[in-house]
């Protein structure tokens, strides 16, 4: 799976947890998860669980709050899938 495909799937995950129809459009590599997308700690947990289900990967025991931007998450998934 290439970076563009991962990006689209991650946008889909974040959109599914949001009532804001424009969430997916706002997701750029540099978009900040907490301050720009407004993700709470529970939203971050949702994201991690949904990513694990979707991509069939396991997150390491890092705290979910260690991701700052949307691009950080895409890169993490990309490395996990290698």
């Amino acid at each position: 799976m290439n970076r563009a495909e991962i990006t689209e799937k991650l946008k889909d995950i974040l959109q599914s947890a949001s009532d804001d129809a424009e969430t997916a459009e706002k997701c750029k590599d540099e978009t900040k998860l907490q301050t720009e997308l407004g993700l709470s700690s529970v939203d971050m947990l949702y994201m991690v669980i949904a990513i694990e289900e979707t991509f069939d990967i396991r997150f390491d025991d890092v705290t979910v709050t260690s991701f700052e931007t949307f691009g950080d998450v895409v890169t993490y998934i990309e490395n996990k899938l290698k």
């Binding site: 599914s16 129809a21 301050t35 407004g38 700690s41 529970v42 947990l45 949904a50 979910v64």
Partner: protein, 504 residues
């Protein structure tokens, strides 16, 4: 007295299975309750954690070898993450005639000793996983007794049967004013809270619980752990919330105690992946610690799960009311539990009862503010309907209760953002986005004189600096939006900020 409400426990009878209702009895102390549990459920699994199962008998055997380490009549601070070891140590302390002061495991190391002193602890019982947090204790008081809870004594000691009025636990709370303090609950209060957890739940004995809440919170300690043990149920300890759904698939819980934000997340995930992520065995979600949306109460029964909402406080040993008829009255937090008196004064709920705390430990000013004529003033605005169902209509004062149940005191967070010299003042508040999402937001007023010489976009510079501070806060206190104002806040005659109330 006018306007005093009480509830007879018979009001809950129609909602419990007939054979179970009469098994709901009261004990004089946690020790007496625990002795009975061990006798009645000896060979049943009590706790499942980290790949191991412990029966009631095994848990008692191991707790009995810890009891001598705590003595009697002591106040023992317990610093331990959610684990079997926590359960064992907590039980050993409160059934040895001592009092457990439950410290949140995420407490910053520099705060551990201060909390022990403020809450009058004589010793600190700790799990080795958190031993790096003991440095300040060792430096400040080298003689202060430290007990590693994984090291048993040479001899065992039997349960001590405390009196109902003897102190049992001290729990951390932001309370109605937001300043951290310790609520002292006696044995009667803890037993009341434990028993209250049984009312209105059709089948509550011999269940399978999964623990995802912190045991340092009353909802986790009393409604989840204590009611689980009282009913001879088994509790699986989920070590990491991100593994929750994998753990559910293995353990197959029948009851889960959770905050609304997590219940909502589980619903969204179930929809996204087209299957019930909570497992087909789950029958009840006990939901509280924050406002429960009627939407959740209506949606969960479609998956065969009853979502039962309730209302409680740390000061009331968690449970004040529970809703056995959530679907019929989805806006209500339920019927007040028995052995309490409720009074509504100018809309605010005042409480007396067997479940109420004995007061905040060593905090006369807070106690003076919290009580009036012996009534505890909750700070919550309520109404009661003709059927005796309670409704929360608002939260008085400034506390922000987030969807995940965390209480945020704006003043506490603002103090952190106010530290740079170039910040004149800040306001932290709850806002609601056009899509309905509730967030914690920050507005800051810069101090222009301190910003001379900053090159480039000043607002961008300030935002970046505030983001750095934001990153150092505990996750639940972090703000999701930062705005830099061009003007000061609106102020009261005494120059206090006129607070936003965007979500009331």
């Amino acid at each position: 007295m006018e306007n005093v409400f009480t509830t007879d426990r018979e009001k809950f009878r129609p909602y419990n299975s007939p054979e179970e209702f009469d098994r709901i009895v009261y004990y004089n102390s946690v020790g007496e309750m625990w002795e009975n549990c061990v006798k009645e459920y000896a060979q049943r699994t009590a706790i499942e954690d980290d790949g191991k199962k412990y029966t009631y008998e095994q848990l008692e055997e191991q707790a009995s070898f810890l009891r001598p380490r705590f003595g009697e009549g002591k106040r023992v601070a317990l610093l331990c993450p959610n684990s079997y070891d926590f359960v064992k140590a907590y039980l050993a302390i409160v059934t040895s005639g001592s009092t457990a002061v439950i410290l949140p495991p995420q407490l910053p190391p520099e705060a551990v000793f201060g909390c022990c002193m403020k809450l009058g602890a004589n010793m600190l019982a700790y799990h080795p996983a958190l031993s790096e947090k003991l440095a300040t204790v060792k430096a400040a008081a080298p003689q202060f007794p430290l007990v590693d809870i994984t090291e048993a004594a040479a001899k065992k000691k039997d349960t001590v049967l405390s009196k109902p009025t003897d102190p049992c636990v001290v729990m951390f709370t932001g309370g109605t004013t937001g300043r951290s303090k310790g609520a002292l609950l006696n044995h009667r209060a803890v037993i009341e809270g434990t028993v209250n957890g049984c009312y209105g739940v059709g089948h509550v004995f011999g269940q399978r619980y999964m623990l995802i809440l912190p045991l340092s919170h009353v909802f986790g300690l009393i409604r989840n752990l204590m009611t689980c043990l009282y009913t001879g149920s088994a509790m699986f300890i989920c070590r990491s919330n991100k593994d929750m759904f994998r753990d559910i698939a293995t353990f197959r819980p029948t009851i889960m105690v959770m905050v609304p934000a997590l219940a909502e997340m589980a619903l969204t995930l179930s929809r996204k992946f087209g299957r019930n992520m909570l497992g087909d065995d789950l029958k009840y979600i006990i939901c509280g610690a924050a406002a429960v949306s009627p939407y959740l109460i209506e949606e969960y029964p479609k998956m065969g799960i009853s979502l039962l909402a309730g209302y409680g406080l740390t000061e009331s040993a968690n449970l004040v009311s529970g809703n056995p008829n959530s679907v019929g009255k989805p806006e209500s937090v339920g019927i007040p539990y028995p052995n309490q008196q409720l009074r509504i004064v100018n809309g605010e709920l005042w409480l007396k009862g067997d479940n109420m705390m004995d007061g905040y430990v060593g905090d006369e000013a807070e106690n003076a503010a919290a009580y009036e004529d012996g009534w505890f003033k909750t700070g919550d605005l309520v109404k009661i309907d003709g059927d005796g169902y309670l409704y929360i209509t608002g939260r008085s004062k400034e506390i922000i209760v987030l969807a995940n149940g965390e209480n945020v005191s704006p003043a506490e967070v603002e103090a952190r953002f106010n530290t740079p010299a170039f910040i004149a003042d800040t306001q932290v508040f709850e806002d609601v986005l056009p899509n309905g999402t509730h967030i914690l937001a920050l507005e800051a007023v810069p101090r222009a004189t301190e910003l001379k010489g900053i090159e480039g976009d000043v607002k961008e510079y300030i935002t970046k600096e505030l983001e750095k501070i934001n990153a150092t806060l505990p996750p639940y206190q972090r703000v999701s939006r930062i705005e830099i104002r061009d003007t000061d806040f609106e102020r009261t005659p005494s120059m206090k900020i006129v607070r936003y109330h965007k979500c009331k």
